[in-house]
């Protein structure tokens, strides 16, 4: 292969940094909630007075089933309106009515029930999502290819979604969430249906994304948090029980608490006595 041929290959080169990249951020936290309350149905307050500030990094959202994790993530994805309190995403208040288009363009979201169109190919589906997320038309093919490669589905990109296994569908879900290079990435139970090897690769992807993105991963698997997350948020009955590093969570637990790993023991210690863990550590 000659160098001339390769260097002559046309690339649409743009400057490495754009004005948006070097503009100073006007906010301290990517996600900032104060006294946030979100109602589900007529009566139940699924998020009940939450104060939470999240910056760049991978944040694991742990909590028992029914703790309100999904409701919180939906509120952060701006598809549920908070009943009370304030919620700021990327410095913009998203509490009230309005379409929040500018903020939504910078959010990636994988819902717990990831619904898709069976007749679409992987590429068609991710392209469709990129269009819905207002990725500039000229950038869509490259953005889709990059997202699909990052989740390791490049070989299967032109297969129909109905031919994919559960784990692969989940990876398509992750691909559509990152196709717009979001600043806030919300993943609700992303590891469900992934086999152990895929789970390892997913954790690597999370660590990579966490370098410049505020990633919030909800999970009920404590071991997901141990490896991939820089920060753990424990959430129970609509309230924040603990926020700190995985090591700090370990230090909460003692040998008398239930669990197979130190992290699990710390987690179950918090849930036994929610008052004990509140505040900073």
């Amino acid at each position: 292969m000659t160098t001339g041929k390769n260097m002559g290959r046309e690339h649409h080169m743009t400057s490495a940094v754009s004005a948006a990249d070097i503009a100073p951020t006007a906010y301290a936290w990517e996600i900032r909630a104060t006294g946030l309350k979100v109602k589900v149905g007529r009566k139940r307050m699924a998020v009940d007075g939450l104060d939470l500030s999240l910056g760049i990094g991978v944040h694991g959202l742990l909590g028992p089933n029914g703790a309100g994790k999904t409701t919180l993530i939906r509120a952060l994805a701006t598809v549920l309106r908070p009943t009370e309190g304030s919620l700021e995403l990327l410095g913009e208040s998203v509490g009230g009515m309005g379409e929040h288009r500018a903020v939504r363009r910078r959010i990636g979201y994988l819902p717990q029930e990831f619904g898709y169109y069976k007749r679409f190919t992987v590429r068609e589906f991710v392209e469709y999502m990129a269009w819905l997320k207002e990725v500039p038309k000229a950038d869509i093919p490259a953005a889709v290819q990059r997202a699909v490669e990052r989740v390791g589905l490049a070989e299967r990109a032109d297969e129909r979604m109905k031919a994919l296994s559960g784990g692969m569908v989940r990876r398509v879900g992750i691909a559509q969430a990152i196709v717009n290079d979001p600043t806030i990435l919300l993943l609700d139970e992303p590891t469900v249906g992934l086999d152990p090897a895929q789970r390892l690769r997913f954790r690597e992807l999370l660590q990579e994304l966490g370098k410049d993105t505020c990633v919030l991963v909800s999970t009920h698997l404590v071991e997901d948090v141990a490896v991939a997350c820089t920060d753990v948020v424990v959430f129970a009955e609509g309230r924040l029980v603990f926020q700190g590093s995985p090591d700090e969570l370990v230090s909460v637990g003692g040998p008398e608490h239930v669990g197979d790993s130190p992290l699990e023991r710390g987690y179950s210690a918090l849930l036994l006595n929610p008052e004990q863990g509140r505040g900073t550590w």
Binding site: M1, G4, G8, L80, R101, R104, E113, W131, A154
Partner: protein, 272 residues
Amino acid sequence: MSVEHASKRIIEGYVRGGVDLSADEVWAVEAHLEMCRVCRDRLSAAVGAGVPAVASLVDTVWSGLEPQLAVTATMPRRRRRSAPLSRWMTPTMVPWLAMVVGVTLLALLLDLSGTGSGEVSLVLLLAPVLPVLGVAASWSRGLDPAYELTASVPRAGLYLVLRRTASVLAVVVPLLLVGGWVTGVMVAQWLLPCLAFTSTTLALGGVVGVTRAAVVLATVWAVLVVAPTLATSRTAFALQTGGLPAWGLILALGVGVVIARRGAYTVLGTHQ
């Protein structure tokens, strides 16, 4: 447009490491090379001919990259156009629209054969609620598996609502136009109720969810207009020309409410 290319002297100086070029020349030639394919070709030719050290370095990098590139599936260069239709309607809407078309054709057939309901045109009777069904299908939680994803995107909201509604009307209205022309019903007589019902569905949908609104309105229509008409075999007042101003008013109200409450279409509640 004429573009000035870098001179041979500058390219060759750059190849030799830029030592005999001034700083602003190096800066300018780099900026130019980023955008100019012709000069990149000249640069690579100059490198290949004059500086074996750089050429061998580039070759080493390539031989390191090639095994990695070989295992990565490349993006197909030319593909079929990817479903531009999906930008107008979700795949799940298609069977519903087909059903609406079927119902319209059936009503038309009954009208023409005269076995319908005597004096009353079935097409006229069904016209207002047919698009409502299609609109409901485009926003139904049960029918659209990707409803939650769709609700979370920046393009969601009034824009997408109107886009999908427009695509429903684009299918239904021409069909009704043909039906109306064949059965001799005045266009405004069915078009106004049809648009009024659609806008009211969207307006009410912003509060209780589009699908629920469609069900409520279709029921109201069936009870208040269709049932009495079929029972008495006389066109209800609502569908006679005297009712047209009222329909116009409802349409205007519906559109007004939709615009005023456009923020409501971005939350999950609309998909119920």
